[in-house]
Amino acid sequence: MLLRLTSPMAAGIALFALLFAAPLLGANEYYSYILNLMMIHVIVTVGLNLVMGHAGQLVFANAAIFGIGAYGTALLMKHFGLPFWLCLPLGAMLAVSIGLALVFPALRLSGIYLALATLAFAQCALWVMVHWTPVTFGAGGFTIPAVSFAPLPISPDMGMYYLAWAVCALLVVLARNIVRSRIGRAFVALSDNEISAQSLGIDLLRYKAAAFGLSSLFAGIAGGLFAGTLRFVGPESFDLHQMILQLVAVVLGGIGSLAGSVIGGVLIVVVLEFTKATKMSVEIVFGGLLLVFVLFAKGGLVVFIRRFLPSWNETLHASPAPRSKAP
């Protein structure tokens, strides 16, 4: 019985049950806000891990795509007065369409080249956010009104919390199904070796597009929720700091692991809050975490979990093969 509880699925259900209950159990406004940020980062991390971990494509534009989702959602509200429930999917679609455009460089580039080309793209996107003042309100950012969930009897903050909860749960399940599907296996084949993947009949364009589209969808939706939660959107939320936050989330949890993405998304928010509270340098802490995990714990925290919980039965991709017990 206890063993069963330590499978990724059981742990996931327990986590989401806890997240659902937290506000009801009296988590104060600050804690609810932090939990909300965690769920948003879980969504981003799961998406980024699909493209980075499973499909093996090093993309540095995800923070900007996250920002495009946030800007898309909030600007539609601001300029056209459209309701949030409509702006969120539209913003996510904008993020997806821009993310899909990155497939074309990704067809020609890989590894370091892809990373730097997408980084350059991200910086261009950031530049537009800062300089296209009539539309984006420039470097200072802008605020949006609280999202009303009427006629539901729920405050805007709680409404946003449970919306994030539902979306996060849904997307994690979606990611789980994708990873286990033919698409997921094609991603892994892609990351192992593009040429042999092609010779196995895997259509490069289609699956790269799927990987980029999915990660952008996750980032875009998360961005919209982020805007709705903060009620403020500004370019500095999507700069290099956001990029390293997301990279740390993926590497900390475990490259190529869905459970790892969830763990990573949750943990970076904790680490970030702790770092700010203790006035440590965010750059040193997150840069150090990235460096240390890449050097010494390539598979991330899930590898440790697996070592201690034999019933943790997730198949890992792209991370080093777990130490199997002698038969």
């Binding site: 090093l58 020609r108 840069g287």
Partner: protein, 299 residues
């Protein structure tokens, strides 16, 4: 009216060539490491940034002569290059996983930036460097050019020549070249290629330190200047095909001039993004650079 246009153009060209020379120096560091190891040192900009702060510390804080500050920056970044090699490339090279090496370098670059911010000032704090010479312009062929720019341009070219001499005539330089050319053969003749790689990272970083010291009197120093210069250097290197030192030099000058001209004649804001746009377009459409001289290598 006509002459005034010419004056402006001359000024832009002088500024473009001067900054371009510095971009070229940063690009040379990127290329040297790339040719030898097949990876782009993501923390290269932080070598530049810390080099600048070291020069500032020596020259402004301790009042040492500029040349001493230059030497301090070069020596300090040389060591930083070794640290970069030891903490990122060396532990991961045997895995052959370039993505991991790049991620480690990203991590290191943030750590260095954070340390610099703690040591030399917070976000938005800009340190300034006194001018090298009196800011009177000199008249060259009817163009008024800042003597400071001329000195920096000359010094940057001198560093390039020094670097060329090092490669062409010293044993260490030739060992670096040989290792970049054929790592296996370098092992077979008994070179300790790990040492050579370390030296390559160190020399690449030291050039960035030299560039930073030369740039310091022209601009302000702040912790984020490293990333900005890395991007310019990488854009210049990519323009030259990433594997070619002459290509990187031409790329640097081209980028410097393009930035100035596009900022003045098209839109001011373009100066900041020109390098990003260039990287994006070059990587997609001409990944071998303007001269088709890319040398792609494995780890």
């Amino acid at each position: 009216m006509k002459t005034q246009d010419m004056m402006i153009f001359g000024y832009l060209m002088a500024t473009g060539l001067t900054t371009g020379a510095l971009y070229a120096l940063v690009a040379i560091g990127v290329v040297v490491v790339f040719r030898a190891t097949g990876v782009v040192n993501f923390a290269h900009g932080e070598m530049f940034m810390i080099g600048g702060f070291l020069a500032w510390t020596a020259h402004v804080m301790f009042g040492l002569p500029f040349l001493v500050a230059f030497a301090a920056a070069v020596a300090g970044t040389f060591v930083l290059g070794i640290i970069t090699y030891q903490t990122t490339f060396r532990p991961l090279a045997s895995t052959g996983n370039q993505n991991a090496i790049l991620l480690a370098m990203v991590g290191l670059s943030f750590v260095l930036k954070g340390i610099a911010r703690d040591l030399w000032g917070g976000r938005g704090d800009y340190l300034s460097f006194p001018p090298l010479v009196s800011p009177t312009p000199v008249d060259i062929f009817g163009f008024m050019i800042m003597s400071q720019q001329l000195i920096v341009l000359g010094a940057a070219i001198a560093v390039m020549i020094g670097f060329w001499l090092f490669f062409r005539f010293t044993r260490a330089g030739k060992f670096m070249q040989a290792t970049a050319d054929n790592t296996k053969a370098a092992r077979l003749v008994g070179l300790r290629v790990d040492r050579v790689f370390m030296l390559t990272f160190a020399v690449g970083a030291a050039i960035a330190g030299a560039a930073a010291t030369l740039m310091a009197p022209l601009t302000l120093l702040y912790p984020d200047v490293g990333f900005s210069l890395f991007v310019k250097g990488f854009a210049a290197a990519a323009l030259g095909g990433l594997g070619s030192i002459p290509g990187a030099i031409v790329g640097g000058f081209l980028l410097g001039v393009t930035e100035q001209l596009s900022a003045n004649y098209i839109a001011t804001g373009l100066q900041e993004v020109a390098a990003f746009i260039l990287i994006f377009l070059v990587m997609i459409f001409i990944p071998n650079g303007l001269f088709g001289t890319a040398a792609r290598r494995r780890v």
